[in-house]
């Protein structure tokens, strides 16, 4: 893979030339500091921008255009990552060497036509298309309860201290959605274009000089942004909060939020990953999996996720209502074991898994872009350094790290029927 950066002033173009994929993948990445009220607006805006524009003035017309481009796809993903909100506006299309040469420019220009030629008049978005996207967003937000695990995680994060950006969700809120109008959304659109940091990544087997020429003709970003945006949030240690809520499910979903206190940069980047893999991330041989599923047949799924930029680990599982307390007890026992009772096997497996997972990521076109993006904008080390550092970690590092872990929240989304004896 040959990586090259073109500094274009208002945006940077990053090209990754490789013949590994027949697909060409482009991401126009917008990032800024996360503001709670703006997350709904942001998701709304990019959903609208990737649905239609002035030329393709309905979703159907856009899909027809994408089919003309040999089934290209255009979509956006908005994520809250630590202190920031990041939107990836993506365009995927088959390498024109398998179709027609003209498809390169036709495909590359489409996302910019969507961004710079929205279906708007007098600084207000077209009401009809605005309503369609609003209805879809409303349905998505309301359908959250159809996924008990996801709903439980969002509710658990709401227990964090007021103002903690870790509690902001990616999907938006109905209250914020109600306040958005076609003109307020247009104001926000102008804000994003003038204030967001913009990077463009493109990966595929292309002549990247030609790509740069084409993109520079269509990427009409104007404002240069230089200030550094910090990803990290500091969630300080606090007294344990317990919360439970009843709902109409057959299972009880449990979420534990762990605070990771006063970590060094090295711990954030390396030790926390290995700790999380041994505890509950990655394989079916973790402490949590063995204890809850293998030894006690309590659950089908149990796992943990490390949220690097939030300084948190989230543990999730779903059990029978009558086993809720027992499951929490076993999770606590697993955490205790992390302080002084990790076998050589568990430790070595975690290292093997993380190295293997790094290698796996190299075959995923989106993750290759992610790797370059976080290396360029955050503190992610290069591939070789990461492998070396993971190999150097010692078990004592994990034990030392575990002293910095505290339970912040135990949240239960209670479903099922209690046995009479309980």
């Amino acid at each position: 893979m040959v990586y090259k950066e073109y500094k274009m002033g208002p945006y940077n173009l990053h090209t990754i030339k490789t013949d590994k994929f027949k697909l060409v993948h482009m991401e126009i990445i917008f990032r800024n500091i996360a503001v709670k009220e703006d997350i709904t607006k942001r998701k709304f805006l990019f959903d609208l921008l990737t649905d239609l524009n002035k030329e393709y003035n309905s979703k159907r017309n856009l899909v027809l255009r994408l089919e003309d481009l040999y089934n290209a796809s255009l979509y956006s993903v908005t994520s809250k990552v630590g202190n920031l909100v990041i939107t990836n506006l993506c365009m995927d299309f088959i390498n024109p060497k398998y179709t027609e040469k003209e498809m390169l420019e036709e495909s590359l220009k489409l996302p910019f036509e969507m961004i710079f030629n929205p279906n708007a008049l007098n600084k207000s978005f077209d009401l009809k298309s605005f309503d369609i996207v609003k209805k879809r967003m409303e349905a998505n937000i309301k359908s959250l309860k159809e996924n008990p695990r996801k709903y439980a995680v969002i509710e658990a994060l709401k227990t964090l201290p007021e103002g903690s950006k870790s509690s902001f969700t990616n999907i938006g809120s109905l209250t914020d959605l109600d306040l958005i109008t076609p003109s307020s959304l247009y104001n926000y659109y102008e804000d994003v274009l003038s204030k967001d940091h913009v990077d463009i990544y493109i990966i595929g087997d292309l002549d990247m000089e030609e790509v740069n020429e084409i993109i520079s003709a269509y990427a009409k970003f104007k404002v240069i942004k230089n200030e550094k945006l910090d990803y990290y949030i500091n969630n300080t240690k606090r007294k344990l909060v317990k919360k439970s809520e009843n709902y109409l499910y057959a299972q009880t979903n449990i979420v534990l939020i762990l605070n990771l206190n006063n970590l060094t940069d090295y711990e954030k980047k390396y030790i926390a990953n290995i700790y999380n893999i041994i505890l509950g991330g990655g394989s079916l041989e973790t402490k949590l999996y063995k204890k809850l599923r293998n030894e006690h047949s309590l659950c089908y799924n149990v796992g943990s996720m490390y949220q690097k930029y939030d300084g948190l680990i989230l543990i999730t599982t779903a059990v029978d209502i009558n086993q809720e307390n027992f499951a929490v007890k076993l999770i606590k026992e697993s955490l205790k074991e992390m302080e002084n009772n990790i076998s050589d096997e568990e430790f070595n497996q975690a290292k093997e898994l993380i190295i293997s997972s790094l290698n796996m990521s190299m075959d995923n076109i989106g993750r290759v872009v992610d790797n370059y993006f976080y290396k360029n904008t955050s503190d992610l080390d290069d591939y070789e350094t990461r492998i070396k550092e993971f190999k150097n970690i010692k078990k004592e590092d994990i034990y030392k790290f575990s002293k910095k872990v505290s339970i912040s929240t135990i949240y239960s989304l209670v479903g099922g029927e209690k046995d009479e004896k309980n």
Binding site: R136, E138, S143, D320, L353, D363
Partner: protein, 426 residues
């Protein structure tokens, strides 16, 4: 070993049948780092009633999925999970209506990964304790599925469409089915179905086909497989009528989830001289054009706020029927059904639309080789539903024409319909 060009893709498929009967299908891609192995058994949730070694057997529902859970245990009290975790590989397994698949995804130690996959699947080790321990886990899995309205609408649809076909039962079975499963049931299921002659190995990604066949041959030379006669699965005469024409159920959802399923006898198409695969291609095309993202109906329903997102559709291929399911979320279930029904009486297709969709399918065909998991899964589907890997699918796309499409469309008028609705709980 046979090497065949996959037309219009620049890729090759390698196939070999081992002495013990195991079919091996391989598509290498040495530009990627990873490889993906799947060992597949033609034993799914619908195969519970069968004749084996001269006797008729009826096993509890959910047995194929239960057996899949148990396969990871080894006689030395270790598990396949332990082995693969040590070498940094990802493993999993899944059961469908038609087959069970054991998968390994990794990027080093190809020999160890492949050899152990064969070793653990061909080393049955079941005890009463293991069977009993797994019951709690699967019970929680069944409850988890029942909490998911998206699964419930699909399972509900099958329950309402089929009268005798075993797709009307849950793949994992019910909690009561699971309680009734015994050690003997498990042993019988394994002996009846887990024989190389009833299985196939698919390998995609970074590897060498010659080495792969050598590893499989060497590994399996350590196993003795008895002479095998495939179980004869009981065939049900599925009636043309649906089991239930209208069914609704309340769940914690915000919008109604509606599925309209068409049950179409394959006998409808017998005078068209089209293969099963060709029929499926035409049916998918017709449904995609009339209900998909470029259909005028979808745009109309979206503009009128009848639906909030796409209309999705799904084609099921059974022994004697095709089932086409059309699904959407709506606040107006009656009006949505009315419009779908009207459209079903007025299906249309044009030469221009067909050409456009063929263009997108050919693009997808080329791109699928970028993803070693996708191409592996496509091979599994071909083997299960078509009996062989379709290396000339490009020709099938080229042969699609408006005349045949119009004839298939005409035959769609003869169908039975079943509606399944999940509505918000009051």
């Amino acid at each position: 070993m046979k090497k065949t060009k996959i037309k219009n893709t620049g890729e090759y498929v390698y196939t070999e049948k081992l002495k013990n009967g195991l079919e091996v299908i391989m598509i290498p891609n040495n530009k990627v780092k990873n490889f993906y192995l799947t060992l597949n058994v033609k034993f799914g949730s619908i195969h519970t009633n069968f004749k084996f070694e001269g006797k008729n057997h009826k096993l509890p529902k959910g047995i194929a999925h239960f057996l899949e859970h148990l396969m990871f245990n080894m006689p030395d009290k270790t598990t396949a999970f332990e082995y693969y975790s040590k070498i940094g590989s990802n493993i999993n397994a899944f059961t469908t209506y038609e087959y069970t698949s054991y998968e390994v995804y990794a990027n080093s130690k190809f020999k160890e990964n492949l050899s152990y996959l064969l070793k653990y699947v061909y080393t049955p080790y079941f005890t009463k304790e293991i069977v009993s321990g797994e019951k709690g886990i699967i019970t929680e899995e069944i409850k988890m599925i029942s909490d998911n309205p998206a699964s419930e609408i699909v399972y509900g649809m099958y329950r309402n469409v089929f009268v005798k076909d075993e797709r009307k039962y849950l793949i994992a079975g019910t909690v009561d089915d699971i309680k009734s499963i015994t050690l003997d049931d498990i042993k019988l299921a394994y002996d009846a179905f887990y024989h190389p002659e009833n299985m196939f190995l698919v390998i995609t990604g970074n590897f060498d086909p010659t080495e792969a066949v050598a590893i499989a041959t060497e590994t399996l030379s350590n196993f003795e497989f008895p002479k095998y006669e495939k179980p004869v699965i009981k065939k049900y005469k599925e009636p043309a009528k649906v089991a239930t024409e209208y069914f609704e159920k309340e769940m914690p959802v915000d919008m109604h989830k509606v599925t309209i399923a068409l049950k179409i006898p394959k006998s409808n198409f017998k005078d068209l001289e089209l293969s099963n695969l060709e029929l499926k291609m035409y049916l998918s095309l017709i449904i995609r054009i009339n209900f998909g993202n470029t259909s005028l109906l979808k745009e109309e329903l979206l503009s009128g706020s009848i639906i909030s997102d796409s209309i999705s559709y799904h084609l099921t291929d059974t022994l004697d029927h095709f089932v086409i399911a059309i699904l959407a979320n709506t606040d107006y279930p009656d009006y949505f059904m009315q419009r779908i029904n009207e459209k079903l009486l007025d299906l249309s297709i044009s030469k221009e639309e067909i050409e456009r969709k063929i263009k997108t399918s050919i693009s997808n065909l080329i791109l699928c080789f970028d993803e070693i998991k996708v191409v592996n899964s496509d091979i599994q589907d071909d083997l299960v539903y078509e009996g062989k890997f379709i290396h000339d699918i490009y020709d099938y796309y080229q042969d699609i024409n408006i005349e045949s499409a119009s004839k298939v469309l005409e035959k769609l008028k003869n169908h039975e319909k079943s509606v399944t609705i999940i509505k918000p709980k009051e």
